[in-house]
Symmetry: C2
Subunit: 358 residues, 2 copies
């Protein structure tokens, strides 16, 4: 099953009770699945396309300017964050924003999403409803519709509450190719706000900090921010959201794709004191900690100030800052000029700092 | 991360070993994730779009006839089948065919797929390679490319080997609206082959039959079959693949969407003797057992013979048969005329017969 038909047969002999816990039958594809869809999904994420009840969603009819469409973008992410709810967000908001942001990072406007749910038997349906509510709120904020979905159930102990895989479709309306391969020597590196908030918030929610810290995840849909940046400059070369592996890993990917070196100015990198403090106590480097509502932009030097100003006007770009420059490739891909005047190499994350952060 | 960058930093200080088992670090988004992608995914499902290494896949540039595109189709399915490998297929082939088929059921030609993997810590990488090989073979057969992917790892005991969520994008080139809501009184119901093979094959692989039966799953990509049907008739009204819940549940959905009754002729419904025998011993009705390589077509009476002949020329339609007719809604949505001359109502599946069948 893919779309969510509103099916309650007139000859259904046994009305089924309202569900409080997920049971295996919710994955049957039959009446119990339908009842769950009607109880949990349709009231929250229903829309004309999802309601059709077919095996797939027919969509381009509804695309704005369908005749002008030349470039589409597809992106997918599976979400397995633990715990399911944490300060500043939950797996539902994460699943929408993660995919909205990935689509946006090619300069595309995300329009349609799909969502595949893997539910663990015994899951509290109230919790599921809360998470789908959160998806709805995030989708509304981003201005995207969920046009197809699927629900599977696995036995107790074969998942961890629930996992959500979202896929996004977007349209590019930008003249140039925004890509990790487009960074040029001379370009300026901008980050949209403080780093490490998401990773530390999830760690705090797990009780793994060993002390209390008031940190909220930064999870946010960045598509509107991206469109506002695009509106003021034709010279945005790279956009990327530094999620797993953090700023350092993401910049290594970009430097590698573009065959350049990136030199960062440590004192310019925005980090909340509480996050910096938590990282220091735990022995983490905040430049490797995951973010879920931040982006890195690499832009032509002459447009950097305009772009920065446009970013700072958006609620998700208030703390945006210029943090470095792109150079011809020399000794390493990413280098950090420290506050003490020395320079150190920032490598790609090699092991695992924080599992199941997204 | 969404696309799969080929990233092996020139300044990577510690070459990482070839992996035999999935470890949590394979979900880090860093070097270990990249190594896994290079070892397992790129050699098998790599292509020009997937190789770009960006957060999303830019695709319409590559769509054939991009200026003529008016209708796109999106569909998603999460796959949790147990066991991972069974006679006639595995979760990899299932994940490709399931989504290819859902896209095809609106009359669309599937073009691009995405795949999100949730891997359990400790998973044998050789098994993962085998499954991705199988995805590659199925994608080649269907003629689709996997253009974006994601890999997450969860701790031992938080999944069951692996789960795969695929999403498909396709293009419709058919004048009419193929939909579950388009069945009309007088239409003919065709099924593309024998029913129940997949469910019984998976049950046999689980050792739950209690006896041995030589049944293979029917998993197959049906997109070419659909295109051949479309080529001979402009009057195909409904296409649907009877997966979870089987033929009976799927026909109930269609009858409900179209507000009609469907009357089936039991003796015309193709079922392999071994499947019929297994069902009889287990107390199952094969009309409720899942299929993964079959479709139901509801078509205008005057074209039924042409369509049936076209189907029988395709390897996945050799056993296609006319099994019933659509009528004005009367007492029930789906009725079965039995071999003994009586008539019984076929309701929607209400509980769960075979969990984790797809």
């Amino acid at each position: 099953m893919t779309n969510y038909p509103s099916m309650e047969s007139p000859n259904c002999p046994t009305p089924l009770p309202h569900s409080d816990r997920i049971v295996m039958g919710h994955g049957s594809g039959g009446l119990l699945t339908n009842r769950l869809v009607k109880q949990v999904f349709m009231p929250r994420i229903g829309n004309a396309i999802l309601d059709t009840g077919d095996d797939a969603a027919l969509i381009l009819d509804n695309l704005k300017n369908s005749y002008a469409v030349h470039k589409l973008v597809l992106s997918t992410d599976s979400h397995v964050v633990s715990p399911l709810i944490f300060p500043g967000g939950d797996i539902g908001r994460l699943s929408i924003c993660g995919t909205v942001n990935d689509v946006s990072m090619l300069g595309a406007a995300p329009l349609y999403l799909t969502a595949g749910f893997i539910l663990e038997e015994g899951l509290d349906v109230k919790l599921l409803e809360k998470i789908v509510d959160s998806m709805h709120i995030a989708a509304e904020e981003a201005g995207v519709s969920i046009v197809a979905g699927d629900t599977k159930v696995v036995q107790r102990g074969k998942a961890d509450g629930l996992y959500i895989t979202t896929t996004g479709l977007g349209v590019v309306n930008y003249p140039n190719n925004i890509s990790g391969a487009s960074a040029c020597p001379g370009d300026i590196v901008i980050v949209s706000g403080t780093l490490g908030d998401h990773g530390i918030a999830v760690l705090a929610a797990r009780g793994e900090l060993g002390f209390s810290a008031e940190v909220k995840s930064d999870i946010a849909p960045l598509n509107h921010l991206v469109q506002e940046m695009i509106a003021v400059s034709k010279h945005i070369h790279v956009l990327r959201d530094p999620t797993r592996g953090g700023l350092a890993t993401t910049l290594n990917e970009i430097a590698h794709q573009s065959r350049v070196s990136i030199i960062l100015d440590e004192k310019a990198i925005p980090i909340k004191p509480v996050v910096a403090g938590a990282c220091e106590m735990l022995g983490f480097d905040p430049l490797y900690i995951a973010n879920e509502g931040k982006l890195i932009a690499i832009v032509a030097k002459e447009d950097a100030t305009y772009i920065l100003k446009a970013m700072q006007k958006n609620p998700y770009g208030i703390d945006a800052a210029i943090i470095g420059e792109v150079h011809e490739y020399s000794s390493a891909e990413v280098l950090l000029k420290t506050e003490y005047g020395s320079t150190r190499i920032l490598n790609t994350l090699s092991g695992e700092i924080l599992p199941r952060i997204c």
